[in-house]
Symmetry: C2
Subunit: 211 residues, 2 copies
DNA sequence: GTCTATATACGGATAGAC
DNA sequence: GTCTATCCGTATATAGAC
């Protein structure tokens, strides 16, 4: 049983609907999208959505779970790789995030929203089962690093900062672009710059927390 | 005509409805809140909402505009104050943001969402009219500072970073709290720490961008 | 599998009594 | 000003033809 390719050659109707749904849901959020929007976007009729997925909510859940799993897997792959240094991992994470976000700028707001709407539902449904966080390669590297450099700041801060610096500009891009007058291309160029800048910034921040 | 106090002593029905609406809208977003939810939250009947505000959308617009104006005014007051240094301004901004967000943790996601849903509508409606950004006290201070320190990084990056580091943890708090097991109080304690940390981090980041 | 037509439910808004 | 009852558009979901 060979795995389904990420980009379908001959997407089935079911996949076309799913793709359309993903686009509309991420653009407008769950409550504001109508099944009619999805039907229109997919090129098929309203009735087919229920034929394949039974309900709007079930379709939404499927898409959401796929999104989060894809995301979690890719991140886990990076943070639990023993062969890279802590600093390299930060660089890889940032690059990975930003590449993904340039292609799918609506995803973070979408995910944050829906997790906020019902935190338990989604997080439990995904379940980063197994794997204690402290056992991750990156956690062990951090401990050694923090001990050597006498760093006293809570690592949760660092984690939040990495994620914040990479993701937030995309979440705020409508406001940022409006106030600055930047085009999409100019905005994306700034994000490309950040791939190099953020890792440097993060290390500088960590150093500033040294005793 | 004396200004209305921020916290009403004897709130009128109209104000009670408005308060209820603000709570529900910020919690669930525009599309997902039903006028019935607002009625229930306010303790009054559905019909009264239309009696006072004509429609769900008008009520929403009023609340949104009040939110943004309050926010913009307070920020403008800080960034255009000639009597404080650049570094002090950053500290004040961060403290101000975090204090506000600890009290109203749902606001950022709410605002980001609604701005994203219709960027023009809200931004134009508020209109930070007049005041060219380059004329702000903070902009002039930045120019002098950047020239003296030979800083080459685009100031938009710095701006994004300040906002990201302060706001993002609140936007992501459901995920953060779920994964770390932190209570609300513990989370807020971390945010208090950040009031001191972020300004230091920002300055360290800026220094790392020096030639 | 895919469509058209329709049943059913829900939500915003209003009429009208008090 | 505040309530109950209701209208009516719209959205989800389904039945049934092809």
């Amino acid at each position: 049983m060979k795995p389904k390719p990420v980009i379908e050659i001959n997407p089935s109707t079911e996949d076309k609907i799913k793709d359309a749904a993903r686009r509309v849901f991420t653009r407008k959020g769950y409550a504001a999208t109508r099944t009619r929007d999805i039907a229109e976007e997919s090129g098929f009729n309203l009735a087919l959505i229920n034929y394949y997925f039974r309900s709007k909510e079930k379709l939404f859940d499927i898409i959401m779970v796929e999104h989060l799993q894809l995301f979690i897997h890719s991140v886990m792959g990076i943070v639990n790789e023993p062969g890279t240094t802590l600093e390299e991992k930060i660089g890889l994470l940032i690059s990975h995030y930003i590449d993904m976000l340039v292609k799918n700028p609506n995803i973070p707001l979408f995910v944050l929203n829906e997790v906020n709407a019902d935190p338990k539902k989604l997080i439990e449904k995904i379940g980063v089962r197994g794997m204690d966080h402290n056992e991750l390669a990156i956690a062990k590297q951090w401990k050694a690093f923090a001990a050597a450099k006498k760093i006293k700041v809570n690592p949760i801060h660092i984690l939040m900062n990495v994620v914040a610096l990479a993701i937030f500009p995309f979440v705020g891009s409508p406001i940022i672009r409006n106030r600055t007058g930047l085009s999409i291309d100019q905005f994306n160029a700034l994000m490309e710059e950040r791939k190099k800048l953020i890792p440097v910034w993060i290390m500088a921040m960590i150093d500033s927390s040294t005793t």
